[in-house]
């Protein structure tokens, strides 16, 4: 029993990280219908910015987290301005290829500056609490608490504020939204800022839990977050959260019964099976195409 609870905590930890990154994918997809392939690399950049902030500026965890999130948000806006905005009216494929290009650029630029994996110094004193027979580390508690808080804030923003309403309006109908006086470009920039900020925060927490970072760490995590977004129904923020937790659960469950190298095979096979039965994801709604 305690073993199960222990694994449940691990599922929550991994799922929260996937969910945070998946939200970035899903929001950008919502407003631009563009798969932002560079998003996993923004997550990696978050981890590296965190490394710089805590080794050079010697800041404690919470200010470092806030600064890194802000810097990541700036990076998101920057990539949108330089790479995606000139392509707003270009064919969709060229925008996707640009996103791939930006991703490769970020990876290799980081690799050129830091050829060796870096070790993140400990910022949160890692204590382990024993509750019954279940041990819970402070990092684990921190990851779950911070990500759930961030997700609740985001959900509030998307569902209740004017900004969130604008995001939903753009994702519903991008053509007539400017006619209502909504500044599309500004909203898209802010969406990128939000998504990239969450990705950067995920990078900070990921690197606190798994303290060795390298420029290619974003690829695999990024793709998995993307898969979570799709499983939940891409374009749907709550779907992305749900998808993240589902993928985290599946991955941990697989490692409970099989060698850990089988993790990817099972996770991706389940994804394919799910897509056969629900091609638009769990919470996604199929859009009818007018002829």
């Amino acid at each position: 029993m305690s073993y199960l609870v222990q694994q449940l905590l691990n599922m929550l930890q991994l799922g929260s990280l996937y969910a945070l990154i998946a939200i970035g994918y899903t929001m950008v997809y919502g407003v631009l219908s563009l798969i932002n392939f560079a998003h996993g690399d923004l997550f990696m950049l978050g981890a590296f910015l965190f490394f710089i902030v805590i080794t050079l500026l010697k800041l404690p965890f919470i200010p470092a987290l806030i600064i890194t999130t802000a810097l990541s948000a700036c990076m998101g806006v920057l990539t949108e301005r330089l790479a995606y905005r000139p392509l707003r009216n270009a064919p969709k494929m060229s925008a996707i290829i640009t996103a791939l290009g930006v991703g490769v650029f970020l990876e290799n630029f980081t690799l050129a500056l830091s050829p060796y994996p870096q070790h993140i110094p400990e910022t949160v004193t890692n204590r382990a609490w024993l509750i019954g027979n279940v041990t819970m580390s402070s990092i684990q508690a921190m990851i779950i608490a911070v990500s759930v808080t961030l997700m609740l804030i985001l959900d509030f923003i998307v569902k209740k504020t004017r900004f969130g309403m604008a995001i939903r309006a753009i994702s519903w109908d991008r053509v007539s939204v400017p006619l209502m006086g909504i500044p599309v470009n500004r909203i898209i920039s802010q969406t990128f800022a939000l998504g990239a900020g969450l990705g950067g925060a995920a990078g900070v927490m990921y690197s606190s839990a798994y303290p060795v970072i390298d420029p290619y760490m974003g690829i695999m995590v990024g793709w998995k977050a993307f898969i979570s977004a799709v499983v939940g129904g891409i374009g749907n923020v709550r779907g992305a959260m749900l998808g993240g937790y589902i993928l985290g659960t599946v991955e941990i469950a697989v490692t409970m019964f099989l060698p850990s190298t089988y993790r990817d095979i099972v996770a991706f096979t389940l994804l394919l099976i799910l897509l056969i039965f629900r091609p638009h994801g769990i919470l996604g709604v199929p859009r009818s195409v007018k002829l």
């Binding site: 050129a112 799709v230 096979t269």
Partner: protein, 318 residues
Amino acid sequence: MKAATFTKVLTAPVILLAGCTLSYSAGNFNLLDRYIELIVMYIGINLILTLSLNLVNGYMGEFSVGHAGFMAIGAYTSSILTVTVFSLSMGAWIFPLAVIAGGLLSAMAGLIVSIPSFKTRGDYLAIVTLAFNMIVKSIIENVDFLGGPRGYLGIAKLTSLMWVFFFSFMALWVIRNFVYSNYGRGMVSIREDETAALLMGVDTKKVKILTFMLSSFFAGVAGALYAHLLQFISPKSFDIIKSTEILIMVYLGGIGSIAGSVLGATVYTILIELLRPMGIWRMVIMPLVLVLLMIFRPKGITGLREFKWFIPAAEKKL
């Protein structure tokens, strides 16, 4: 048969024969610098990959991002055949058979991947192909018989300039003829509007299966050539980074264009070689070039246009 038609029919076999003779002698009598020969072989392999991916992404308008998975199947199949099943004592002629076998098995995988494409389109198909690539890579990593993550060793260097020329010419020829065939036209009509194509009587399922199988066949062939050129393959050489590289070549050259594929593969391979002295920075410059290209020429260098030579005579009159 009129003289003009006669020469047209013979053009391709004559070029093939002349090219094979030339590349055979160039390879065997050291007419070319070893380094340049290697680069030419890379260009040929990349050309096959680019052409085959352009079929799915450029002509059919689907977004496949897992092409390295097909390459892996071709590479591993042919390597197992040349290393364990056939021995080298049986002669070098066994090599093309192994390459084609790799292509065929890869085409079978293409058949499986084409099935989800009946229902899902666009971004969802991208995920299916991506997942396919990762599943192939993970399976290879977990099967000890294939060397697992350590890679597969002991492959003989069987890829020669002649075989690269032969297979890239075949790819060019077959794909060019496919594009201008009935099925090829159906493929383009799927890109423009799938529902309309269906209403006009295009058997979209059949066209999709054929396109995917042809595309994955040549990817497998390219993988087999690649394995026998490098003499070492590991799951890492066929991951998503490799797929991205092929995508870059396709979109650099131009979508929906054979001339574009030739140009894209050649320009990319040569550019990467020229930038080699810059070390890791070349991989920083390359994506920058790509992003700038996409901003200024969103369809690639020759997107959706064709070099005269690749268009059949009957099409030119239209």
